[in-house]
C-alpha cells in the first residue's frame, strides 16, 4: 500500500506540474518519465519554434524552455517533496544543431540535493540518448513541501 500511495503522490505532482503551466501546455511538452529526482520530457517539432528559417533548425530558446521544464520536474519528484521551485542558474552547451522535423527529448537528474538547493545535470537528444544536441547544468532553489504547508520560508 505504501508503494502505491507514493506513486499516487508522484502522479499528482506530475499532473499538477505539466497540466497547469500555460507555456508548457502551449508548446505541447509532455512527460515521458518522472521518478525520484529524474525526469524525461518531449518537445514535439513545430515550425513556429524555428530559429533559422534557412535551415529549419529550432531556436535555442525552445531548447532552453524544454531543459528548464524538465529540470523543474526532476526537482519536484526528488525525495522530501521539494516545492516552490525556482531556477537559480542554468548553463547550456550546444554540442550540435537539432535536426529539423525531429522531436526533442530532454532528460534531467538531480545529482545533489541540499536543504534549499538542487544541483542538476540535463541532456537533450532526438532518437539516440548518446547523440546529444545539448548538455546542461542547473541549480534550483526550493522549499520542502512540509515547510511550504506551514507557510515557512520562501525560496
Amino acid at each position: 500500500m505504501a508503494a502505491s500511495k507514493r506513486l499516487t503522490i508522484a502522479d499528482e505532482l506530475i499532473r499538477q506540474y505539466v497540466g497547469i503551466i500555460p507555456h508548457v501546455a502551449e508548446l505541447g511538452i509532455e512527460t515521458i518519465h518522472a521518478a525520484r529526482g529524474m525526469a524525461i520530457m518531449k518537445l514535439p517539432y513545430q515550425e513556429r519554434l524555428v530559429g533559422n528559417p534557412e535551415t529549419g533548425v529550432i531556436h535555442g530558446g525552445a531548447v532552453t524552455t524544454l531543459i528548464d521544464t524538465v529540470c523543474g520536474l526532476a526537482v519536484i519528484t526528488a525525495p522530501d517533496e521539494p516545492s516552490r521551485v525556482a531556477t537559480l542558474d542554468l548553463r547550456i552547451d550546444y554540442l550540435r544543431p537539432a535536426t529539423p522535423q525531429r522531436d526533442l527529448y530532454a532528460r534531467a537528474e538531480v545529482y545533489k540535493l541540499t536543504r534549499h538547493v538542487a544541483f542538476l545535470r540535463a541532456e537533450t537528444y532526438e532518437d539516440d540518448p548518446r547523440d546529444l544536441v545539448a548538455a546542461a547544468t542547473g541549480t534550483f532553489m526550493f522549499v520542502r513541501r512540509a515547510a511550504a504547508r506551514k507557510g515557512l520560508a520562501k525560496p
Partner: protein, 152 residues
Amino acid sequence: MSTPPTLSEMVRAAREAGDINRFIDAIPYARFLGISASAEGGVLTARLANSEKLIGNPALPAIHGGVVGAFLETTAILQLLWTLESIRIPKTITITFDYLRSAGPLDTFARAEVTKLGSRVANVRAYAWQADVAKPVASANANFLITPADGE
C-alpha cells in the same frame, strides 16, 4: 529575382531601413514569442510583449524561465547581427542564465553588449528587466560562433 532574400540580405536591408523588426519578423520563434526591438545609437532594446501563453508559474504568476532565457538569447543574437556586417545567424556555443527575480505578467525588455569580438567567437552579455531597469529579472552570458555570410 524570384529567389527569396537570404537572412543576411534581410539583416542588411533592415539595417539600411533602421528597423530590425523587418528581420525579426522572418524568425518564426521570435514572432511566436512576440519579440520586437528598437535601435538607438547602435544599441538595440528588445521587447517581449506580455502574453498569457508565456506564463510558466500561474500561482505567482510569472513568465516561464525558459521564455526569459530565450528572450535573452534572442536579444544577444540580434545585437550581434545589428553590430556586425555580413554574418550568418550566430550559433550559440554556450549560454549561462542567472535568474534574479521572478518575471511578472508584464512587458519585458532586454539589452545586450558584445564584450569580446574575435574572428570566430563573440562573447555577449545580456540582461532583462520589467518596470525598473535597475532591477533586472535575469541576465545571460554567451559565447557565439560567428561565420561570414559569404564563406565558410
